[in-house]
């Protein structure tokens, strides 16, 4: 949640509802394909090679490396967060407003690490 909307200040076209419901348009260029790639990689989807090929055609091989390394980076960060029980930083929580609840993120089990800490 820490990055939610960090880059969307002044850009009303971005829709972060797409991160929990990929059928929604994210407003991000090639957003659907990037999310398909992310899901195939994280969930070990059998379609990873095919999605990666389409992504490479759309954004180029070097940008696919960016996508893969970003996915890998956050596969690390979620394990640090969940493995240490950290709450979301207070300034991020304030900036996010009602978005976490609206997106259903507060239903995640690890949300308790934030709200139990007050």
């Amino acid at each position: 949640m820490g990055l939610l909307g960090a880059s969307s200040r002044g850009n009303e076209a971005l829709n972060y509802g797409a991160i929990v419901d990929p059928s929604q348009a994210s407003g991000v260029e090639h957003g659907s394909l990037l999310m398909e790639f992310t899901e195939a990689a994280v969930r070990r989807g059998g379609d990873l090679a095919e999605v990666r090929g389409r992504l490479a055609e759309a954004i180029g091989a070097a940008a696919v490396v960016d996508a893969a390394s970003t996915m890998a980076n956050f596969q690390r960060m979620v394990r640090i967060a969940d493995g240490t029980g950290i709450p979301v930083d207070s300034y991020i929580l304030e900036r996010s407003g009602a978005a976490p609840e609206r997106l259903g993120l507060t239903a995640y089990r690890s949300a308790a690490n934030t709200f139990a800490a007050g």
């Binding site: 960090a6 994280v42 960016d66 970003t70 996915m71 960060m77 979620v78 394990r79 493995g83 930083d89």
Partner: protein, 254 residues
């Protein structure tokens, strides 16, 4: 299989992998194979090996799919170099991390052969090896053989200023750090570090590793603050869409 000399040879990868990433992965393997503060080099490489085994673990898959993991009986095969609780923790952190709790954490650090410091170093080793492997898997590259461990004794270093704060384990905040550890928060420029950074600080070398790999795989902390600059081929909204989608797929609130 282990190797004395890591290659991370991406010349046949089919993707132009940036040199900053390759150089970081070479440093990752050097960090991995040496003694840490609480585990020997051989034990750290054993943690990495278990991290890989968890990926294809049938017991973990069954537990992750169960309504309650406790409903699925069984134990992982013992590792000659690691306490049983360490093996169980590694498998859980790789395959079922969204169901961790403070009670689970207390059980792990209180188990035979474990401690808060050993848990945090284990987590540090696990996540950095896992991230390297994840990048390889996403691009269909073979996993790099694990490195041959170096000898030597763990330092036993625990920062004197580490204390319980917002996370389950104690952390080291800048205002309580000895001068020799202040570098871990250098890029924070006096601000309180993000919780996900300080979370690993009971073992300061973990944070040094995190800073290095985070910058190579994603952006440096300084670049993260430069919202309007484009540092990678993907734009900032594209990077953040990917990042937040990973969190959502993992049901990670943070």
């Amino acid at each position: 299989m282990t190797t004395d000399t890591a290659q991370f040879d991406y010349s046949e990868a089919g993707f132009p992998i940036a040199e900053r990433i390759r150089e970081c992965h070479l440093r990752d393997w050097e960090r991995l194979r040496g003694p840490g503060a609480w585990w020997t080099g051989a034990e750290r490489v054993a943690i990495a090996r278990q991290t890989r085994l968890a990926e294809d673990c049938a017991l973990c898959r069954e537990r992750a799919a169960a309504l309650s993991p406790a409903a699925v009986a069984g134990e992982h095969e013992a590792d000659a170099l690691l306490p049983r609780a360490a093996v169980e923790a590694i498998h859980k952190l790789v395959t079922d991390k969204s169901r961790l709790s403070e009670a689970w954490y207390e059980g792990v650090v209180g188990a035979a052969g474990m401690s808060e410091e050993r848990y945090i170093e284990l987590l540090g080793v696990l996540v950095h090896v896992f991230a390297v492997d994840e990048l390889h898997r996403a691009l269909d590259l073979p996993l790099e053989p694990l490195p041959t461990p170096l000898g030597g004794t763990p330092s036993g270093y625990r920062p004197a200023g580490a204390a319980k704060d917002v996370s389950w384990p104690p952390i080291l905040l800048p205002e309580h750090a000895d001068p020799g550890d202040l570098d871990i928060y250098e890029e924070m420029r006096g601000r309180r570090p993000a919780n996900v950074v300080s979370a690993l600080s009971l073992v300061p070398d973990n944070v040094r590793w995190l800073n290095d790999q985070f910058a190579a795989h994603y952006l440096s902390w300084t670049e993260m603050g430069e919202i309007d600059k484009q540092h990678r081929r993907l734009t900032r909204p594209q990077l953040e869409l990917l990042a937040t989608r990973v969190s959502a797929l993992n049901e990670c609130f943070y």
